[in-house]
Amino acid sequence: MNGVQITSLSIGLILAATIIYLLRRDHLHGPYALWWLSMAVVTALVGAFPGAIDWIANALDIGYPPALAFVLAIALMLVKMLTMDIERTRQELLLRRLAQRLAMLDEEIKERNRGE
């Protein structure tokens, strides 16, 4: 095992361990947990076998293998950010509807109490 491999393996394992720790502490749930668990596995694997990137890049005729890693990472981040904003929009809608409903029910309960 050479120096590069030790560095990449430790980065991969630290990331994976952090994610699994957060999962176990219920800081990530449902679909997010699944996504981040996959990311933990991927970072650990890439960390353990950095040569895999070179091998895939060669198979795809990519002259500069690190470019493949960067492009894939950026693409995944963009997808993740997009789905985050979609989710945020859904939650904003939910929050607004709930706030409106709360305002209506609150007044109805008060009015009922006034009527008694």
């Binding site: 607004r96 709360l102 305002a103 109805e108 009015e111 009922r112």
Partner: protein, 239 residues
């Protein structure tokens, strides 16, 4: 004799008047009092998480007050009032601002216009009052959205039950402003919008939140252009 469980039965098949208000304590009581003097309709003040005593002022003037737990903005507050009015069977819903710029005696003008035109939305408009940026915005929106409404930002409006019901749904909840999104939604469903000329006062205090600075205007134009892009050409079957 048993009292009805709540006084909202007064709203059934009647007009309801919705006044969204955020920190309008200096004016809201007078506005509610003038409206109540001019109309027998139930007045609903939607208190958009005010930090002053808007709610108490409105209640003391005889309004039903709905208090939002988080600030939803003018349209979010207005939609709350529409939902409440429709939920209790209102026949039509009139909205007006809490700062006193809309006159209670013009309510009759809007009602008469709806009577004669049978439009689903009557906008009380004072186009001569439009500022320069608003005029430019209006031309621009007419170009990209095909909307003929002149005073598109006016919050003095009379909605039919059909229009109000349509605007209660979730798809109208994420609008950030009450103007273009609402107008395009109604247009897409084939509802008729007309304008009635009314006189309006200068705002008693405060100023237009949207057209207060160029940064705001830019933000508003961008967001509203997005709304137009999202809604343009999405004709629906009449609701």
């Amino acid at each position: 004799m048993s009292k009805p469980i709540h006084s909202y039965t007064l709203m059934r098949d009647q007009l309801a008047i919705v006044i969204p208000a955020r920190n309008e304590a200096p004016t809201v009581a007078a506005v509610v009092a003038r409206v109540r003097a001019a109309s027998a309709a139930q007045v609903i003040v939607v208190n958009d998480s005010s930090t002053d005593d808007t709610a108490a002022q409105a209640r003391s003037a005889g309004a039903t007050v709905l208090t939002l737990p988080v600030q939803l903005g003018a349209w979010g507050a207005t939609q709350t009032g529409l939902r409440f009015a429709i939920r209790h069977g209102a026949r039509a819903v009139l909205t007006m601002d809490a700062d006193g710029q809309h006159h209670a005696d013009a309510i009759a003008t809007l009602l008469a216009t709806q009577e004669t035109t049978q439009a689903d939305l009557v906008i009380g408009s004072a186009p001569e009052r439009l500022s320069r940026p608003k005029r430019i915005a209006r031309l621009y929106f007419r170009l990209i959205a095909g909307l003929e409404v002149r005073d598109f930002t006016s919050g003095f409006r009379l909605y039919s039950a059909r229009a109000a019901r349509l605007l209660c749904f979730r798809h109208a909840t994420l609008f950030d402003y009450q103007d273009l999104g609402v107008l395009m939604l109604l247009k897409n469903y084939g509802l008729r919008v007309v304008e009635a000329k009314v006189s309006m006062s200068e705002r008693n205090h405060g100023m237009s939140r949207v057209f207060s600075s160029w940064a705001h205007v830019a933000r508003y134009m961008l967001l509203t252009t997005l709304v137009c892009m999202a809604r343009a050409g999405r004709a629906r079957r009449p609701a």
